[in-house]
Amino acid sequence: MTTLSFASGTLELRDVPDGLALPESVRWDERTQTYRAPALAYFDIVRLLHRSNVPYTDAARAYAELEARLAVRREPRPFQTEALAAWRGAGGRGVVVLPTGAGKSHLAVLAIEDRRRATLVVAPTLDLVRQWYDLLRTSFATDVGIVGGGSHVVREITVTTYDSAYLHMQHLGARFGLVVFDECHHLPGETYRLAAELCLAPFRLGLSATPERQDGRDALLERLVGPLVYRKDIVELSGAYLADYDTVCIEVELSREERDEYERERKIYVDFLRSQGIRMDRGNGWQDFVRRAARSNAGRRAFQAYFRQRELALAASAKLAMVDRLLDQHRHEQTLIFTQDNATAYAVSRRFLLPVITHQTKVKERSEILERFAQREYGAIVTSKVLNEGVDVPDASVAIVISGSGSVREHVQRLGRVLRQRGNKRAILYELVAKGTGETFTSERRRDHAAYR
């Protein structure tokens, strides 16, 4: 009889009948004289054995039905019910896209209750792990395991980080029937994808507000998690389930000195591109520039010039003057200030004496800053990218984007940070752009989303 077993994140198949057309991911392993496949193939293999009427022993699956029962029942919002139905219709495998603040976590709770299998939730940061831990412990009135951040307690519902998941999945991969990948756009990374590949869970739920990746690897999500089964964007939910909002783009002028230096540096950069025939509008334009810039001193100078002209636009002095005015104007509202890089975040913090949260901020201090922000002891926080996702940010109604990348996902996430609904709140997002610089193009790119139309 055919036997399936789990070995270090892979599946071993023994005594497979001759002529059975195995999935492409299954290989013959000379070392052990067995067929072997990444554990991800479990669902396909079991389905194949069923459909082919091949009797088999499943020694791989080490997960059980969930004993814990949902203790706190919250009425789902209509779109959550629709999303659950769509996911269920896809066989319990797929990605659901909902905006920040729309209740993705609650959808996961509903999915766990729907499948009733031992569940692993994978989240990108320890902060999110703590938030999931609290939510699941309360929702299911049971002890929840944590793997990561110094803990290694595995229970029928367990929460972990992507970092710990890929490190430990070779041992844990058979113990869960459902895996929830929170902020699943992280999953297709070179190492994080192992978290999905070394795990045999037949049921998988991916959650994200913005699954698209600039490197195009979001296409891998279909193989690692399942197809996109449901999507609702900010504009479809604002007003009813998210706060109404305005977005305001403020163009500022560079000072005369900044403009002169900007034009000088930009010319060095652009002249180099022309002399080398580099087209930045092509897919490999940036890589081409980096490669050629490394080959000569003129290239190196052009590389420096690129960063200097960009820095002049991103951190223009007029932007900081505008921030000062906006802080005054909204001094009784809670404000989040976003920058593209840490250096600008710290410069803003020093200039306006505001608390800053970056990846360098220790967890204890970050928690304290967020707590004081929630208590309104602090009126504003500066951050670069850390608060784009992964941290439960207390309610805020004003966002000031001093600078950012051209990423639509980042810009949508930043907007999402001020959309948590509260009373008749109307949120506002200011985007500061240096007029007549390359930043105007970056701004157009990142606003290429329904939420900004």
Partner: protein, 386 residues
């Protein structure tokens, strides 16, 4: 083949490394950001930029930085930011927010000068840490690390590696095998002529797409391979995003340089602990011998058991659960001349019967489920002794 640095380039690399090390020695007391800027500002030719960046990174990794003592920046920030938030809320057109006023009030509360507050506000950031000790290594050693790093990067992409090694001292060979086992690499070993051993090691691309963890373990084994007197390494690699199949070769000879001591695998350490707790006549210790059957292969036992009442000692090798083939190679060793008393520990997942070694009186197989049991091993040792 990865091009080795030519004599000229090597001399230039040593010169650069020396310059970087000198910058650090002169920069003791400066911040990390200042040191980084100082290294980046070194004038190098365009063709040398890559190696200069790599050497700069290695130099920084070897520096010791520490945070300045004095005021605790988090407490300082809390004081300043709370005052600032209150001042911003209370601001009006007539009395606008004033950073200077906030710093002055914070200074009075903390007994510090306002300029000192600004200076210390983020003194705990990594870039603000001060260099307290420059790297204690030579420019030549730094360039050696660079060269080793190049080869390690290639090994991360390996399908398979064949390494022919020769060690004049048994100690070096033992060190290498202990490293291979500690890193849990999948390897086969055969003795060639003239004291050369051929190691065939599975690469991270051997079956599926690269497994990063395994690739890292393979790369980290390179220093142990280079610690042999002679090394000839050939690797089949899948290179670049197109996974282009390439062959890679690397040779090294010269006095061996070790990177620390070899360590035992966790399972072996656990087994030693378990044995200590048993009330038994057997004493266990890490094995130091390499058992060589000329023309057939070698075996590197993990432990050596001696009975308090004397008699021949018994070697023990734990084979794990990845390679069934490895078990049969051990059986062949016993069949073809391995004469020492030996017990092989094999996971039941490899589906090998203990009976395959029934023909030998001095060797046995111990098949275990889960993890090996000290008590069961004791029984097997007793049987081998009698």
């Amino acid at each position: 083949m990865l091009l080795e640095l030519s004599a000229d380039k090597r001399a230039r690399a040593v010169e650069l490394a020396d310059r970087f090390l000198e910058r650090c020695r002169l920069g003791v007391g400066k911040t990390r950001d200042e040191i980084e800027r100082s290294l980046a500002a070194q004038d190098v030719r365009a063709s040398e930029r890559r190696i200069a960046q790599a050497l700069g990174k290695l130099v920084l990794d070897a520096c010791v930085f520490e945070q300045s003592e004095g005021v605790e920046p988090p407490a300082l920030r809390r004081e300043v930011f709370l005052r600032s938030a209150a001042a911003r809320r209370a601001a009006s057109p007539e009395a606008p927010f004033s950073k200077e006023a906030v710093l002055a009030a914070s200074g009075r509360a903390l007994g510090l000068d306002p300029s000192r507050i600004e200076e210390m506000l983020y003194a705990d950031l990594r870039g603000a840490h001060r260099l307290i000790a420059a790297p204690n290594l030579s420019a030549e050693a730094l360039v050696r690390h660079y060269e080793q790093g190049q080869i390690q990067a290639v090994l991360l992409r390996a399908v398979s590696v064949v390494a022919d090694v020769r060690c004049t001292s048994p100690d070096s060979l033992r060190y290498l095998f202990q490293k291979l086992k500690f890193r849990r690499l999948l390897y086969r070993c055969e003795a060639l002529s003239n004291g050369v051993y051929r190691l065939s090691i599975d690469g991270p691309f051997s079956l599926f797409e690269a497994v990063t963890k395994y690739g890292l373990e393979l790369a980290l084994t390179l220093p142990a391979l280079e610690a042999c007197d002679e090394l000839e390494l050939k690797a089949r690699v899948l290179w670049g995003s197109a996974r282009e199949p390439l062959e890679f070769e690397h040779r090294r000879s010269g006095p061996p340089v070790r990177d620390g001591e070899a360590r035992l695998r966790d399972e072996i350490v656990e087994l030693l602990h378990d044995f200590e707790k048993l009330d038994t006549g057997w004493q266990a210790a890490p094995a130091e011998d390499i058992l060589d059957v000329p023309g057939v292969g070698v075996c590197v036992p993990d432990l050596l058991f001696r009975h308090r009442e004397g008699g021949d000692p018994v070697y023990f090798e734990l084979l794990g659960y990845w390679s069934r083939d490895a078990v049969f190679r051990r059986v062949e060793l016993v069949e073809r001349g391995l004469s020492r008393r030996i017990l092989f520990g094999v996971s039941a997942r490899l589906r090998v019967s203990e009976a395959v070694l029934d023909f030998a009186e001095h060797a046995a197989l111990y098949v275990f489920r889960g993890k090996p049991s000290a008590r069961a091993i004791e029984r097997k040792l007793d049987a081998l002794r009698s």
